[in-house]
Amino acid sequence: MNKFMTIFKHTFLTNLKKKSFIITTIVSMVLIVLLFNLPPLLEKLSDDKSYTIGVVDQTHEIYSDMKSELSLYEKIELKSFASEDSAQKAYNDGDIYGYVIVKLNANNFIEAEYKAENIVAFELSANIEQSLSTIQFHRIAKELNLSSAEINSLFTPVKLTKTPLGEDAKSESDIALSYVIVYILLIAIYFGVIMYGNMVAMEVAKEKSSRIMEILVSSVNPITQMFGKILGISLLGILQISLMFLIGFFSLKSNSGTFTFDALTLDFSNIPLSLILYGVLFYLLGYLFYATLAAMLGSLVSRIEDMQQTIGILNFVMVAAFLVSIFGLTNPDALVIKISSYIPFFTPMIMFMRIGMTNIHFLEIAIGILIMIVSIIASSIFAAKVYKGGVLLYGKSNSLKDIRKALELK
């Protein structure tokens, strides 16, 4: 126990003091603050200059309607021109940003042509099109002799109320909130597990390549060593992630605590605590499983340069699990999702996603947790065996062969 604490403390403190760790933490915190303050910041940065658009109204009856329609948009000012030539001249002189030629075709429908320096400012042309469509609508309604009440009735939307029939099914706004939280936590689990798992592998590989391992293995049990390292790094990870969530939380709070996605407004004060706790639990389970295997692979490489190649297989599986879980966000009841939520590598992300998005029975969650615990125990026992032999294995690495050789050496 004492030696475990020694290794745990040593791993945590030496990594905490590393320049690279301090810098990444600060940079990510700054990025998070920027991200949450992006919408107001962008608004401040975006130009508020208005555009003057010339109108060559060949129908002589639409210009005034256009003017009143477009008065809604502060950015657009209209100016009337008698002919295309005079508009072009004004454009050449730099008086206007562009111009629209409006005419009627044979069927008496409005046709228009928009000319400008460039048509990148998509909003401008969209506004013009919108206003012309409205005008056209009113012209046709007038021709058909529709009253304004009749016009309004044309626009009446259908009212659809959604009632979930399933027992404790989630309401629409609940689902939206879950979706966002599950999404964010899935990303956190994915990055956290890979990042800190790789850090464990790196620690082991470094000690092996510098040959410190032989001394460590002769004085401390490999299981104690491995878990000292794994938990030391996990404390580091928890510290770093908590810092990020904290800074994210306060940034959000300073933005009045809500976030608007199109029409949906999410109130983050309604976050279900249990979902967050499940997220933390599955993160830890996923991390422990991944880290034991990463430590094992770390013990097999002789040079740090070979590390990425060896651990690549593990990372590949994690990417697959992440993609499946993202697919599952919109199809949480698909059979493939249900099945994969019981496969150890996939369980942490996919089971968590199912908890967030569906009404999963607690028994299923318990089975998932149990599968993870059993897998972690099995992988640590196996990893510890390889670890002890792997420490003495030098030369060109070839992971699968090396695992067998390391087991023989032990």
């Binding site: 004492n2 030696k3 020694t6 290794i7 040593h10 030496t14 000690e207 510098s210 040959r211 410190i212 391992m213 032989e214 001394i215 460590l216 293995v217 002769s218 004085s219 401390v220 049990n221 002890k388 420490v391 003495l392 023989e408 050496l409 032990k410």
Partner: protein
């Protein structure tokens, strides 16, 4: 009380790195493992430490197998040196001390003593990578001895050191022995083993070809060397039946004898022919014994 290695065999694949080795090493002595590269010295150490598991046989330290329950009493200087390049000297030594069951305070005190002894006190808070190779070696040595182990394994402790540092480490090894530590020590340099060890084991391809007390080995070998400095041409000595060979060197001639019974006759014969400035009977060197036993040159 002893380290008892009982009929140990270790296979790597089909190849035996150590073969049917049986040794009984008494406590409180310096014991040497001699052998060329690949003779099985490092494998033997790893077997003793329990890093490797023997294919056959047992190893007992004071009657018990060596494992993580008694590893605090063991010190190990591996052949491939391993320290944290990025960490300050004292900080990492404290870590190694704690891993051998010391408290921070105990470790700190011991480290200060050893740094002083090795004349590197001023490097205590410097990163290891800033130290010279010789000084790094001293730090490595401290990591093996700071917890005053009962059993100390030193794998090629003097390789790559300059003569001054070799002497400094030799005296530290002797100091540890005086403190009552049992020291196992491997080298491919015969003269280091001859100087430090009372007993030794000569390994060749994983097998012990000589084992036991150094003086007894030399006595049992029976053959001795005469060192003669003279102006006389000594070729006529080949007429003596006990003379095995005559080896002329730059400043003297070495006469290898099968026994030392007719030394007086040889001396009389040489003196009768001319002046003799040096005449001595020497023990054979380990190197000679090795060559004779293995039937080939050693270094």
């Amino acid at each position: 009380m002893s380290l008892y290695i009982n009929n140990i065999t270790k296979y790597f694949g089909n190849k035996a790195a150590v073969k049917d080795l049986t040794l009984n090493i008494d406590n409180k002595q310096i014991y040497g493992f001699l052998g060329a590269n690949g003779a099985g010295k490092t494998t033997m150490f790893r077997l003793i430490l329990g890093i490797l598991e023997a294919s056959k046989g047992t190893i007992r330290w004071n009657g018990e197998p060596i494992n993580y329950s008694n590893s605090d009493g063991i010190g190990y200087l591996p052949e491939e040196r391993g320290l944290y390049a990025e960490l300050p000297v004292k900080q990492q030594l404290i870590y190694f001390g704690e891993l051998r069951g010391m408290t921070r305070e105990q470790a700190s005190r011991k480290i200060d003593d050893w740094l002083y002894r090795f004349n590197i006190t001023s490097y205590a808070n410097r990163k290891l990578q800033e130290l010279s190779k010789g000084n790094q070696q001293k730090v490595q040595f401290i990591s093996a001895v700071m917890h005053s182990p009962d059993l100390l394994l030193l794998d090629e402790p003097f390789s790559g050191l300059d003569p001054v540092n070799v002497e400094m480490l030799k005296s530290a090894v002797k100091y540890m022995a005086d403190e009552g530590t049992t020291i196992l020590f491997s080298s491919h340099r015969m003269e280091h083993v001859e100087e430090l060890c009372e007993s030794l084991c000569l390994l060749d391809k994983g097998e012990a070809i000589l084992e036991g007390n150094l003086n007894a080995i030399k006595r049992d070998y029976g053959k001795k060397n005469l060192h003669i400095k003279t102006s006389v041409d000594l070729k006529f000595l080949s007429e003596f039946p006990e003379v095995k060979s005559i080896i002329p060197k730059a400043d003297k001639t070495i006469i290898q004898l099968n026994d030392d019974e007719s030394i007086q006759d040889i001396l009389t014969a040489v003196i009768s022919k001319g002046e003799v400035t040096h005449f001595s009977l020497e023990e054979p060197s380990l190197n000679e014994i090795f060559i004779e036993k293995v039937g080939k040159g050693y270094e």
